[in-house]
Symmetry: C2
Subunit: 290 residues, 2 copies
């Protein structure tokens, strides 16, 4: 503890959010793998207390211990908000954790996952096998391709739910946070369809969330709602996802009865947690109303 010169030199992985003036450390037993894929630099560590850790271009993507919060909150709220989600697309999501959660919903007929980097999925199969346990579900189709281009070619009104489970808006993820992409998503969604996208930290990234929401509106979306959840290994430990809907139905109502009676296991998600996550704090609502 204290400033750096006082510390021991044990091995810690550090991710610094320099612009936020904060950093996260995880104690490491060793590095299990590293490679430069065609798109990004991928690392796998074994941590002391968080199990396996995947790092992309220096940023924590997921750990075994806490990814359940993120994956459950990127999937179950949007799927229980849609009246009957059948056709689902996941853009990004190469670790397959969101895919697994989507496939727990028996309304879902088909999920197409489009991640540009096949190596993320191959490493996840090796180091996070529990996230990949549904990859062979006959309803799942895994494509390794450019999600932006895939969305451009998706037929009109062919999707019920789009989950954008991407890296931050730098590098390969950049084109997933702008009006051009959202316009295509809007077109590809059927009426009542919903997009959900991870939208960074409510504390650190208010400007990003605001401009993302603006781009969603400009892309045609009629309803927006941001929800919050903890994510201990992302900067600030506090994360958000933003839902955007094609059509006039709001995003506060969901199939609460179905959520309460769900027949699959969850560790973070419940109907009550879903309702709670929709309650954004006053400082956030004020910033979004600016």
């Amino acid at each position: 503890m204290g400033i750096e010169e006082k510390q021991d030199d044990s091995r810690w992985f550090t991710e610094r959010a320099d612009e936020a003036g904060m950093g996260l450390q995880l104690r490491i037993r060793g590095k299990l793998h590293e490679e430069q894929s065609d798109f990004q630099f991928l690392e796998i560590y074994e941590t002391e207390s968080f199990g396996h850790l995947m790092v992309i271009d220096g940023f924590v993507m997921l750990t075994e211990r806490d990814n359940f919060v993120y994956h459950e909150m990127m999937t179950h709220p949007v799927l229980f908000t849609h009246a009957r989600p059948r056709q689902v697309a996941i853009i990004g999501g190469g670790d397959c954790g969101s895919l697994r959660e989507v496939l727990r919903h028996d309304t879902v007929d088909s999920v197409t996952q489009v991640d540009i980097d096949e190596r993320v999925t191959r490493l996840s199969e090796q180091y996070f096998p529990e996230l990949c346990e549904s990859n062979n579900d006959p309803r799942a189709r895994l494509l390794f391709d450019d999600g932006i281009e895939w969305m451009r070619q998706a037929p009109d009104a062919s999707l019920d739910v789009i989950i954008v489970d991407s890296t931050d808006p730098v590098g390969p993820g950049e084109g997933l946070f702008n009006r051009a992409f959202y316009t295509q998503c809007y077109r590809a969604l059927a009426d009542g369809g919903i997009l959900i996208q991870q939208s960074e930290s409510p504390l650190l990234h208010l400007d990003l969330i605001q401009s993302m929401r603006e781009a969603m509106s400009n892309g045609g979306f009629d309803q927006l709602h941001t929800l919050q959840f903890p994510q201990p290994t992302y900067p600030s430990g506090w994360w958000s996802a933003t839902m955007a809907r094609k059509g006039d139905q709001g995003l506060e109502q969901f199939r609460r009865g179905d959520a309460a009676k769900r027949r699959f296991p969850t560790r973070y998600y419940s109907a009550e947690v879903h309702a709670g996550a929709l309650a954004m704090p006053p400082f956030f609502c004020q910033a979004m109303a600016r």
Copy 2:
């Protein structure tokens, strides 16, 4: 980014939760003050992005930027759960941030704050003056004394709400997490009275929360409810507080109308956020039911 040897040597404050295998870093402009008080080692830093930072015995106590979440959630939920809170005690809380929030409630006739270390309050007056802006309220009484002993001498049924805003259960805070202390709190509360205490991270400290709840029950408390909120500069960024009630009324119902119509500013708290914070995730509920 990457493991430690790759990093630059800029000045960062680091708090390592060694047992949790995780650490938090804040970029520092400089150290403004340090002293060994009669009880603990106190440091004040100026950070790059979180304003002033107070550190006690190496642990982050608060920063200017994110203390609002903690202080609002340690006070408004419990005060809006009680039917008519008049007599309030704060044990610990020397930075006076909880005191300020309590005094926003016009039902409150008197607040006695008992922190063992006067130096915490003096440093807060100097470096966190906004938290101390209500210290001269005629309803407030600041004592610098042993909170455990003070509670032992408190008259029976003399308090409506007790807020235990303490350091972690090591050092001076240790005696605030056991049955003997809770027995005295129970005795000092009037019927329907509520204790709230910070109860660490739902991710990292499940065992602590469980044993704390058990000690509260053994101390006589009839109803328990833990609530959750983000706290970016505490380990894991995810924190909790546990309410314990003397009497049969539950802790899920609160004066929602009064909370919604509150005439004071809040940044994190709202009636909806309060309801949401009560929804604990399934993994937590299962662990508590063990």
